[in-house]
Point group: C4
Chain length 268, copies 4
């Protein structure tokens, strides 16, 4: 029994040592199912496909949920093989509240809930939860670990620049509201409504559904576009530089030596 649990653990969680082949095969199957789920979630909303392949979508949904449920139960059973969750009860409880386990449960529980739900509004919202299945792929992709590291590294800068963005947005939108409200009372109807213009203008998206028409509003809009874009480009610039640093760090593994004693230096 214990031997079996260790084997299952090795297949499900590690990808090195014994059972490597089985583990690889299992992970390829899992990634394939997740990718197919992504395609199903996207295509399922196209009325034409939904009508034509109703049965196929339902069968695949059923199969996916069963597969994920069995996998989830297995993971809870074997998690005690991991040193971090060694206790048979408290370890498993702690595993249940780990980030990856929560993603796993969010990916399957909506299905079971909708079986009993009668309120269509709730069913619709629960369907949205199926996109958590996509996040399951984060278990494999080292790209997601990178994004995590970038956000952790640049936390301060991101918070700082987001503060500017929000502050700038409120200031510019407040002024614009008082300038444009009388000319376009239906579009610049309130400051929150004007903030939609502010985001659209200062991220340079510019949908064109709302824009100033008075000369003063255009002047302010022009100034906000030229200067404000800088502040709104800050989070973008920070993310981009964070990624390029991470990528460079992975590449540059050149050995550095102390100029005084000649010994190797790591993580100075």
């Amino acid at each position: 029994m214990h031997h079996l649990r260790l084997s299952v653990y090795r297949i499900l969680e590690t990808s090195s040592g014994k059972r490597r082949g089985f583990s690889l095969a299992f992970n390829i199957v899992l990634i394939t199912i997740i990718t197919l789920n992504a395609i199903a979630i996207v295509l399922h909303t196209v009325p034409e496909y939904n009508r034509r392949f109703t049965q196929l979508f339902y069968d695949f949904e059923l199969f996916s949920v069963l597969f994920f449920t069995i996998e989830y139960l297995l993971r809870i059973w074997v998690c005690v093989e991991n040193d971090r969750y060694r206790h048979w009860f408290w370890g498993r409880l702690r595993y249940l509240f780990s980030a990856s386990s929560i993603i796993d449960i969010l990916a399957i529980f909506p299905f079971y809930f909708t079986l009993f739900a009668t309120d269509l509004a709730i069913v619709r919202i629960l369907r949205l939860f199926r996109i958590f299945r996509l996040f399951r792929i984060s278990r494999y992709s080292h790209a997601f670990r990178m994004i995590q590291r970038v956000v952790t590294d640049k936390k301060e800068e991101l918070i700082l620049s987001m503060t500017f963005v929000v502050f700038m947005l409120i200031i510019v939108s407040s002024i614009m509201y008082y300038v444009e409200h009388t000319a376009q009372p239906d579009k610049f109807s309130s400051i929150p409504a004007t903030m939609w213009w502010g985001v659209s203008a200062m991220t340079t998206v510019g949908y064109g559904d709302i824009h100033p028409i008075t000369p003063l509003g255009k002047l302010l809009g022009g100034l906000a576009a030229i200067m404000g874009i800088g502040l709104f480009a800050l989070p973008t610039g920070i993310l981009v530089s964070g990624f390029t640093e991470q990528i460079r760090n992975q590449k540059v593994t050149v050995i550095r030596r102390c100029p005084h004693c000649g010994k190797e230096i790591r993580d100075v």
Copy 2:
């Protein structure tokens, strides 16, 4: 009396030494009130909320103004504790014209003014002044000191690039006006009107309310978009590089030492 003034000064202005706990508590209260004011200013313009919570908005407004007024008077009373404003009269006068004091007065005076004002147009404009309450938060945020330093550092570059932006805008808009005016006399009605297109195109916002339709106008618009974006991106690029430099400067002050011999390492 003098002892009391020093205590109040320490609570209001410094956040170190004696009365640290009181100072922290006061500042948290103040930041909370400012943030609530920001939310009130924004939501106040939504007709639905304005109707439903008229009394709440008015009461909060009254409370804020009273709080800010008392705080303002206290600050004037205690400012003489600061070495820069030591004289009981001239010091206080100089404090009254300091940047932070002017922001403080701009945040409260519109309320008192509107009590006596009968002209609704002036009342509406004065309401806009309430957003100065948001700037009061600049007293706390080191982010604002950073933006100040960035602008000071990059003043030359910003002025230089803004000159280009204005020059480029006039040249491109003048040519576009002569090219498109006959085809769209209502949209490209004058060079100032065409400048609105110019800003919108060269910041890549592109609202779509105004754009060239003649082949020559489209050719010019395309060239202006490709080349002009470079010049319009300059202030953005300068701001972004200024921020990243400031952030790097704040971080890199740690002296690195070789873990083997303990000597300082420069430029490894």
Copy 3:
């Protein structure tokens, strides 16, 4: 005969050594014909020019195809002079399947095919293949070799960032679909339809044909614009940095020497 083949090879393929003048002349003629083809392909679709210059377009097309066909046959004939394709049969066969040879055949075969094709739909699609004539210019431009090197160098980063872009696009579009579908069932009709909004918003193009109108949709759209732009800017940033690196590498190969003592200087 062999002597003639070598001469033709030198004219067609190399631009150094003997027959340099002829080679240069031939290449200038070829580049001119390719450029004229580009202009013809573009202007040919303008109804006015097409009507007026039907005969001229057809004659130039005929001339181009004949020129390219003769050139193609000559290249096959002489390719054995190249050490990589030395065998009279297998060498030529390998040459036929080389990248540049495939571009050459794609540039001419549609013409011959359309002579026999009766289905207009196929003829229309084949006309599109004529743009492969433009790729023939890649034989000359060292710019194309640079783009190739940039993509090769930054392959990992590009794949990584494209993964993020696709993932982000699916997540944001799925959420937006569930948020906006009931308010705008005709525009946000399905997740694939919403992905068109997603691309347009997060690349900051913002055509304005589709945008959220509900408050929650606008909030999500604003957040997606501010944060998502960062991820969508990654491939752009990687390409731009790749190019600037390539350009710098080409420039910095000069050895710097001290003007006083003549010794080589590194890292001044």
Copy 4:
């Protein structure tokens, strides 16, 4: 006479040595007149101002042209004081064809021409030439010398990236034309018309007057937006990096020394 000519030369052309005060005063007057001309050119096209201040605009135009004409004639008279144009006839002729002299004549000749012109179309075009008066300010601004240096420095890169931009534009627009033409024959009417979409999409301006509506067109448009933006951002990136390098070079005037002999190094 010769003494007077030298004095005038010093006032007009140099801003150091004798007559420094006069020269400064003259240049301030000239910059003011040029700036006023810029304002006049822009406001002159606003029907309301044009109607109200017709006489003022005309008087200022007359004054400006007279001032510029006298200044131009004086410059020709005194240019022989400059060593480059020393010969009384050939020197003056060479001066007439120098860049700054051509800008000067383009700024005034349209006025004289329109006095005799009867064709209104020509008069309208000639009015456009008045914006050359703005370029006259380039004589003073060191910003313009900087832009010149940036373009000179980055010539290769700019040409290379512009080649990519044009190539990419033709390829993407050609494919998009064949994809979208049947669905929107009036908007994607020809490849040149589609190129307007291409520029608008790949510079991320996105006016929204023209965009793909077929699923295949949207897929292509999305891919073009994500990948193509990179190439279109290249000229922008090159200009921005060129400017920042120039600005840094002006600042960093630290003396560099050879590490071998310790002597100062300039322009290594």
